[in-house]
């Protein structure tokens, strides 16, 4: 009798405190958001890769022209979806496969990818095959090698590449980028050109694993949120970014007009350069387009460039930093010297030159911002990986027989995640500001869908300043500022939350 009562008392105390509902909403919301973003980015990546590969092979004998390109992309997308279905099935049923040997699977996939590079670029491909092929096949082979042999092998590789580059300069023949498909028969070329496209598909095999990891991250998201809620600055930033993302997503329903007048519509002189009125909240521009609608639609472009460029840059930087920091040695030296060179390049002139030369599409804007923005992340991730490599957990994992790839993905990457996320948020700020700058100078596609920078560009070009048209150049700038400010607020607060030393006393 007595025991029973005591038991019940104990069990009552054992029941965990009920979680506030907002914690659950936030963590599950974050999961859904991240998963959605992941899926969309994967799809974009696969289509972009397939398309670029198809186009780069399209020059061969005029075989892959406009029409086959789209079927090619469709084919790749279809098989990607099949792969996704298979991998989800694997993820649900064949759980063990992912739990135990993802590192091995990744290693094999990388081997296949590197081998297949030979099909895309014969010269570079063969060189990479020689170096990394052996390494990824079985890293243990290096153990048997004497240092002297290893040196001969490495310097031999560098020598071959240098020799090819030199002979390329002297003879003017593109050996390095010579495609295999260019020396095959047209039919063979078409088949070969399909092959690299399929390479991206195995990436889908990792999706269930990644999604499960994100699901498992909920407790840390909740912990983060518990602290984050108490910082009004961070909440304000979140509110700003949330509302701007909302505006961008529902732009067609918010904006009263489209961002351009329908093509071929007659130009009505009364409609041009109008001041604000009930009909046009912020007036019209030199082509009679509604400025308010252009700004609303502009949020789509500005935000997209900001997010995508930052993600690409951080991805590049993380990869370089992890490899350099973890493997060390000559790889580290080479990668870090490359990083140093990139750190010293003058950003703005290079962006302008690049866009002037390679065209001014969205893709190029993203590429140029990402290429010039990955160095900071690479350095930070490298130093973090260096210190993590020396910690006992790495040694223990090695002792348990984990491969390098497994340790990198399961131990080192999760530990650098806060750093990577912080870099990503600040990267969005840099990317949005850079885009606005080059758009203002007029080096992007200024006739397409506008970004805020493009609206400012036209205002500047039409001397809105001297005509006292404040409604043309003040609102887009305010929006740029609000967006970057929101991200800066979030990053500042997140820094406080993650780094307790900066947190201070909360009364």
């Amino acid at each position: 009798m007595n025991e029973n009562i005591i038991d019940r008392k104990d069990s009552i105390e054992m029941i965990p405190e009920k979680k506030p509902i907002h914690l659950r909403i936030v963590s599950i919301g974050a999961f859904i958001l991240l998963t959605l973003v992941l899926l969309v980015v994967m799809d974009m990546l696969i289509v972009a890769l397939a398309e670029n590969l198809a186009i780069s092979h399209a020059g061969i004998g005029g075989l892959v022209t406009d029409d086959p390109v789209s079927t090619y992309v469709l084919a790749i997308r279809a098989s990607a979806i099949v792969c996704l279905a298979i991998s989800i099935w694997f993820g649900l049923l064949g759980e063990r496969m992912y739990l135990h040997r993802p590192g091995r699977i990744l290693q094999k996939l990388l081997t296949i990818m590197v081998c297949a590079l030979a099909f895309v670029m014969l010269g570079i491909g063969v060189g990479l095959l020689l170096t990394f092929g052996i390494f990824f096949w079985n890293p243990k082979q290096f153990v048997d090698w004497k240092i002297r042999n290893l040196k001969i092998y490495r310097f031999g590789f560098v020598g071959i590449i240098l020799a090819i580059m030199l002979s390329e300069m002297v003879f003017g023949q593109p050996f390095l980028t010579l495609t295999l498909s260019s020396i095959l028969t047209p039919a063979g070329a078409w088949a070969v050109s399909l092959f690299p496209g399929f390479l991206v598909i195995p990436l889908y095999l990792f999706l269930p694993k990644v999604i499960r990891d994100i699901w498992n991250m909920r407790p840390s998201v909740e912990n983060f949120w518990k602290e984050f809620v108490y910082h009004p600055m961070g909440m304000l930033g979140l509110a700003i970014i949330g509302s701007i993302v909302f505006v961008a997503v529902f732009a067609p329903y918010i904006a009263p007009y489209y961002w351009e007048n329908p093509p071929g519509a007659p130009i009505n002189l009364d409609e041009l350069l109008q001041p604000p009125s009930a009909e046009h909240i912020l007036g019209t521009n030199h082509r009679g387009q509604d400025i308010f609608s252009r700004i609303i639609y502009g949020s789509q472009i500005s935000l997209m460039i900001g997010f995508v460029a930052s993600v690409v840059a951080v991805f590049l930087g993380t990869t370089v930093g992890l490899i350099a920091g973890y493997y060390g040695g000559i790889l580290d030296v080479i990668l870090m010297r490359i990083t140093d060179v990139f750190l010293c390049l003058p950003t703005l002139p290079l962006m302008l030159i690049f866009l002037m030369l390679f065209g001014q599409g969205l893709q190029n804007v993203i590429i140029v911002i990402a290429i010039l923005g990955w160095t900071g992340t690479a350095r930070m991730v490298r130093s973090e990986a260096l210190s993590l490599r020396e910690q006992p957990l790495t040694e223990a994992a090695h002792a348990l027989g984990a491969s390098d790839g497994y340790i990198l993905i399961h131990h080192i990457l999760p530990n650098t995640l806060p750093l990577i996320l912080a870099n990503m948020i600040l990267g969005v700020v840099t990317a949005i500001l850079s885009e606005a700058g080059i758009a203002f100078l007029g080096f992007v596609d200024i006739h397409g869908q506008p970004s805020w920078g493009i609206v400012l560009h036209w205002a500047w070009k039409n001397a809105a300043l001297l005509a006292n048209k404040w409604w043309w150049f003040i609102p887009p700038g305010v929006l740029i500022m609000l967006t970057t400010l929101g991200f800066v607020f979030i990053s500042h607060t997140a820094d406080k939350v993650v780094n307790p030393r900066l947190r201070g006393r909360r009364s």
Binding site: C344, P346, L502
Partner: protein
């Protein structure tokens, strides 16, 4: 002990020198390659349309554009070390060195130097003060203010300043470095005119630099406050101000040095945007016009010059670090 340290320090400096030279060489080579690989043929840009074939060939030979790449590269290196960067396409065949250094470099240098000094001084002073008054209204207020400054797009502050101070209130001139068509009586008059034109861009640049400096200063000082030597200084009974400006600030200056060096390219980019908005005749405006008029030699020269500045500032920061922080031993 001390000799051992100094030799290893010298070895470190030697290593850094070698690395810097290698990086600089790679950048020189990149500079050569970028302007050769580009789809736009420099020959086309140089000659333009409507020249007779003979003249075209003679011009191409005159500029050595028919030689093999490797020979062109060699010539480029030799000319570079002789200080010859070629001739501008669009500035009436002026030597590039002159285009860059005659007055444009000075204009950019004065503007950027003044903005850097101002923003570093203000940012550091306020940063230390805010860190000392941590979590008070002063701290929060200044942090929010400087975060806003950090988030502002440079060119848009420029537009605002032009609109309000230049156009509406008529305090500042709209464009240029000096008043056009105005004969200056003496040097003081000239300097006054120049400074008057510089106020606008200077405010803009200072605002755009200051946010980052303030934030770094504040965070580092907060970090320094947790160190033992601050505790020791407090235990000695030193005045709070001495601790703040003598101990905390001096030690917090270390990260500032490397941040300024590493961010040099971004600072220069900011200066270029400002120059464009205010038509300040410096390197930024030059680059903008050179890109528009496809003036390869000038672009190459500016590119090389800016990259060299970045390389040198990185090197200087490393050496300065060694000197400033006695704890570092290599």
């Amino acid at each position: 002990m001390s000799t051992g340290k100094s030799t290893s320090a010298w070895r470190y400096i030697g290593q850094r020198v070698v690395q810097t030279i290698i990086i600089w060489f790679i950048i020189i080579t990149l500079n050569f390659i970028i302007f050769r690989v580009m789809p736009g043929d420099p020959r086309q840009a140089l000659i333009g349309e409507g020249l007779s074939p003979e003249l075209r060939i003679s011009v191409i030979e005159r500029f050595g554009l028919d030689k093999p790449m490797i020979e062109q590269y060699w010539l480029y290196l030799v000319n570079l070390f002789r200080g010859d960067l070629g001739y501008s396409f669009s500035h009436f065949g002026e030597p590039v060195i002159e285009t860059i250094f005659a007055f444009r470099f000075m204009n950019t240098f004065v503007l950027m130097g003044a903005a850097l000094v101002l923003s570093i001084i203000i940012g550091m002073a306020v940063g230390v003060f805010a860190a000392a008054k941590r979590d008070t209204i002063v701290d929060t207020g200044s942090t929010v203010t400087f975060l806003i400054a950090y988030a502002l797009p440079v060119f848009w502050i420029g537009i605002l300043i032009l609109y309000y101070m230049g156009f509406l209130w008529d305090l500042l001139p709209i464009a240029g470095t000096i008043t056009r068509g105005y004969n200056h009586v003496n040097i003081i008059d000239y300097i006054f005119d120049y400074t008057h034109h510089m106020i606008g861009p200077l405010i803009v640049l200072t605002l755009s630099f200051i946010g980052g400096f303030y934030l770094i200063m504040r965070d580092t000082v907060l970090d320094v406050f947790t160190q033992d030597y601050i505790l020791a200084a407090r235990a000695k009974g030193l005045k709070e101000r001495t601790i703040l400006y003598g101990h905390a600030m001096r030690n917090a200056m270390l990260p500032m040095v490397s941040v300024i060096a590493v961010n040099m390219p971004y600072l220069i980019s900011g200066a270029m945007m400002t120059e464009y908005v205010f038509s300040w005749s410096g390197l930024g405006l030059l680059t903008y016009n050179a890109v528009l008029s496809v003036d390869y030699p000038v672009l190459q020269g500016v590119f090389l010059f800016l990259a060299t500045i970045a390389v040198l500032s990185n090197f200087a920061a490393d050496i300065l670090y060694l000197y400033l922080d006695p704890r570092i031993r290599y």
